[in-house]
Symmetry: C2
């Protein structure tokens, strides 16, 4: 059992399996040096080369490469790693700090990489300068598959976006990058065998094979496997622009420009489709060294299959009762192709069918039920359902969704063993290179801890504290979740409204995927430059305010600061109001700002009532309930996050 107060003080994220801090500090100064012994590996050399500038940036001390007989950090790797990083390779490490030296030991280079990340996190400002606590850490992951899935089809993400997010993944010990490379809205990789895939299916926005090799090498250098996904037979419109003959209905086809479930699907009754996929997968299997290969398989709506007389005839001929059976047939053929090219097939949970061999992996997305079902049926499985970032859930909500609890808690130990881990799912309907980082980070760190740390690690307050520290360090690595948020607010605000817009933005969050789709008809070309695109998925201000209100109502102090905060919110409207008419990005925010101001006014009146110990009039209470109900409705695709706290204040006044 980890003493939580120490863990919070150390600010490690994810929390290691075992931590034993002690008194004393190891000072980090200009004389910092690293020594490497044991089995050599270029990944270790590269990680050390990154560590030096990383520490210089973290501390502001001009740390350079210093040779020392007795280095500050002594790294010792016991064995070589696999030539291609394997699922289940030993990722453990031991890190022991004294007042004079840090010793990092691991059986495999992967553990050294993780241990270096932990070492960096240990360093903090202290009275004697930058230093790290004396500590003994014995760490290993809970799950072997800890992934981040990234959709680069619906909105194109240049390679820089991928690379900086790989750095973020490494910082929180995620180890699988699941690269969703094709969908209706874009085919994002160069095929030399079928070049019309990218030439006609990508608007020129695709990764060359050289870039793909660069990403794979960059990921390997950081202990991360790269699994490609090519989604078939549906979500495949972009393939059909160049190769309409693959489809179950005649073309021509155009790149999808909006979102949803589209009719176009590959024709499982055509041999030519399998020949095409064999050639294509053969090409990609050589490019991607990882032994897992994702074929999508989700959301086949059957429209084209049902309308095709030849497919109907094929189903009859092969005794395929329905479209599920037809897709299972397709998947069996596909699995044989994937296997022939040396890979295990992975698919979204629709592919689950007892007809498939047991060496495939099921990725649960429609709910945790399919994870348990797949495991019971003997399949390896991955959980993604609770980790869809576009659902705009809080870090705490996702953090507390454990792969082995709820639906999975009834699994036998053997079945639980088949739960390999999970993946955070990033879908890009409402993402651009500007705002993607703020959707992924820091919330993904919470899920990374769920995948890595002991199951009983559930202290949400500690998570948020550590996450705030990590969030800043991620920016040092090159992530832009904080700086692009500011940049987007500055763009929306124009030259004069930045401060009040910041105040408004700090208490709102965007609606989720469904809310966006209901609000307006989006296409791939719709500018994503509004406050709902910039605002953070989670309002730290609202969370802290909620806590203050709850503490105050439970009898603690803090009434003055709550009042001051409410006054600032109430007054903010006056600063913003002159800005709404001059700027179309500000215009839609007028009702949001008016509601925040009114809510703050309601909160202040409730505070006055509480101060005076006098219940407000029924009419006033009724008015506040109407205001709260109105303020709960999304406006400008934003949700005001302080509503629950104001509700508590009004309810407390009404209960006098």
């Amino acid at each position: 059992m980890i003493p939580t107060f120490f863990v919070a003080a150390l600010s490690l994220l994810p929390v290691p399996a075992k931590v034993a801090p002690d008194e004393g500090r190891l000072v980090i100064d200009q004389n910092f040096s690293v020594g490497v012994t044991g089995v050599g590996d270029p990944r270790i050399t590269d990680a050390v080369a990154r560590l030096i500038p990383c520490l210089a940036k973290k501390t502001g001390i001009p740390i350079g490469v210093v040779k020392a007989a007795n280095p500050t950090l002594l790294i010792h790797c016991l064995h070589a790693g696999a030539p291609v990083q394997q699922l289940g390779e030993d990722e453990s490490y031991q890190l022991e700090l004294t007042e004079t030296q840090a010793q990092l030991t691991a059986p495999n280079p992967l553990g050294i990489l993780h241990g270096i990340e932990t070492f960096v996190q240990l360093i903090e400002a202290s009275p004697g300068g930058f230093s790290a606590s004396v500590v003994k850490i014995d760490d290993r992951p809970r799950f072997p598959w800890r992934g981040l899935h990234l959709d680069v089809s619906r909105h194109w993400m240049p390679i820089e976006v991928v690379l900086r997010n790989l750095d973020g993944m490494a910082a929180v010990k995620l180890n699988v990058f699941h690269w969703h490379l094709s969908d209706d809205q874009g085919f994002r990789i160069e095929s030399k065998v079928y070049p019309k895939l990218q030439e006609l299916g990508s608007d020129g926005h695709y990764y060359t094979q050289d870039q793909v090799r660069k990403v794979i090498a960059y990921a390997r250098d950081r202990g991360i496997r790269v699994m490609p996904e090519f989604d078939v037979p549906a979500h495949a419109t972009a393939w059909l622009v160049g190769y309409p003959e693959l489809a179950a209905a005649p073309g021509p086809y155009e790149i999808g420009r909006h979102w949803g479930i589209f009719a176009p699907a590959m024709d499982p009754s055509k041999e030519a489709v399998y020949t095409f996929l064999d050639n294509f997968i053969g090409e990609m299997a050589k490019l991607f060294p990882d032994e897992y290969f994702h074929i999508g398989g989700d959301e086949v709506n059957g429209t084209q299959w049902n309308a095709s007389t030849s497919i109907q005839a094929f189903k009859k001929q092969h005794h395929l009762a329905d479209n599920h059976a037809l897709q299972a047939y397709f998947n069996q053929r596909l699995q044989a192709i994937v296997k022939k090219h040396g890979k295990h097939m992975v698919g979204w949970d629709e592919v689950l069918d007892p007809g498939l061999p047991k060496d495939i992996v099921i990725q649960s997305w429609r709910g945790p039920h399919s994870l348990a079902e797949a495991s019971r049926m003997g399949y390896d499985s991955l959980l993604s359902a609770p980790y869809y970032l576009d659902h705009m859930k809080t870090a705490a909500q996702m953090y507390l969704a454990d792969p082995l609890e709820g639906e999975s808690s009834g699994l036998t130990p053997e079945q639980q063993q088949r739960v390999l881990g999970g993946e955070v799912a990033t879908w890009s309907e409402y993402l651009t290179p500007e705002n993607i980082d703020s959707r992924i980070w820091p919330r993904t760190a919470a899920i990374a801890e769920r995948f890595w740390s002991p199951q009983d690690q559930k202290d949400v307050a500690s998570l948020y504290e550590r996450s705030a520290i990590l969030s800043r360090e991620l920016e040092d690595l090159g992530l832009l979740h904080k700086s692009n948020y500011r940049m987007m607010l500055e763009r929306i605000a124009g030259p004069t409204a930045l401060e009040p817009l910041k105040t408004l933005a700090s208490v709102v969050s965007p609606v989720n995927l469904g809310g966006r789709a209901r609000a307006r008809q989006y296409t791939q070309q719709t500018p994503l430059n509004r406050l709902c695109d910039a605002a953070l998925p989670e309002s730290a201000t609202a969370r802290r305010f909620q806590k203050s209100v709850e503490d105050m109502l439970a009898g603690q102090s803090g009434r003055d600061s709550i009042r001051l905060q409410l006054m600032l919110w109430r007054e903010n409207e006056a600063a913003l109001r002159p800005e709404f008419d001059g700027n179309n990005l500000m215009h839609e925010l007028a009702p949001v700002s008016a509601n925040v101001s009114a809510l703050a006014g309601a909160g202040l009146a409730a505070l006055d009532a509480l101060d005076a110990h006098q219940r407000p009039a029924d009419a006033w209470i009724g008015e506040q309930h109407a205001l709260l109900a109105n303020a709960r409705k999304p406006q400008a695709e934003l949700i005001i996050q302080i509503v629950p706290a104001i509700q508590k204040l009004v309810d407390a006044a009404a209960a006098l």
Copy 2:
């Protein structure tokens, strides 16, 4: 005469020579397109290629390359430019916007580059989306030489620092990058002829010749000449580490680690020195295509020359009365070498000597007097004295220093013509790649306007408004003056003190060069990670507060917001106090914070007295004067910038 209210509304910086705005807007949306006609030039093609993503970033609209018969921006260049950009090449342009099209015409590609920057600055948020005002602009620079000097010796600046600052220069139409490549503390360029220069003189921190070519090409692409400086015969210790035989005293020599005027100097009496310089300058003259070549020439203290019997004998033999005459001899020899390699020599104002031919340029740094003197003596001249960024003057102070006013106002028109312009001087004693941008930007924009815009452009309030807008756009170009400021504050603050530290930082500025040197013994390795390294040279908060106080004392409103501001400053101390002991970077700020809090208290008491129309007691007034005197003293190498405003409040109360 430019109508100032329009100029401010247009927010152009530097203000063009002639601006005639009219009613109507040109909308910028996804259909934005560019057409190029007239004489082609790769600089124009590249500028257009940069413009598209620049507008996408500015607006958040997915603008791509669109072909259109009638493009939004039509560019027409009349003539080809010089193969190597020349001093005095025509930089003028005409830019005319209607509600349907922008037309940019120039006689030379340089004008097109400047006009594109103006076009970008015209675009702003408006009720109908992003758009630009209908306007007619006829623009040309006032001075042909508008430079930024950068010392990369005392602290090493990697090539990224140089490149992003070239982008900043282009944005404000500066056209000379003066690259100070050698000094006592480092020799920063690869010489293939004398490789020990960089091998022994740079700690491995130097630009390869390929990198230099990249910088030159990048600068040319942005309308910027690159002039190298190799400072001789003094400030040359780093040369002597590899080639001690050049020195006037026997070696060995080590790279300088602290600052100041050092004894080592080259020996003007040795023929081998001229042979060396001939070979070296020959190599560099080929690498740098610009026709100007800076040889430094400043701060020869004569210690080694005076101590050398052979030099004494040489002086006697050549009838050189003193060290100035000896340096003039050296410079004559040097000038012949520089000229032989096809260049004009440029030197700091110590080189001024009637013995030198008139085709050299004198750069005035010790004061504007030498500028006038050089011009009167028939030399071309450059003004840098008022534009030393490390003097920590405000943008307004530097803005109002005009090259042709003060000492130069008595020059004849012909002599004035010899004032080519000026250069902003950046010296890196207290600069790192982290904080350099915040020293250069946005203050340099003010000086750029001085060099470009009409002499009567002196509206400081307008300058600050436009500068704030430009400052944000510079970050979009990749400059880090705002984001690194935040990053450094976050590092100093640690996880819990960021907001109160921001408040403290917003009212302080670092002391100047002299103040730093008096405060402690710095070396090249001293960490520059303290608040005095992060704090901005100019406090916008203090400037605005000063204005509010002056307005209020003159009878205008604003007393409530002044009171609120003072309360926040007074209370900030309570939030910071718990942080001082846990963190060595915070520790030194305790007295600064205490003083700010006390000043705010004094201001509040003065306000109370003003409200009550009652003069405070003499004893209180005396106490406040003592407090103000104490708060004026630098602490932690910081100056509290709200002292003058508090002084005004106290004086007003005392005058009741």
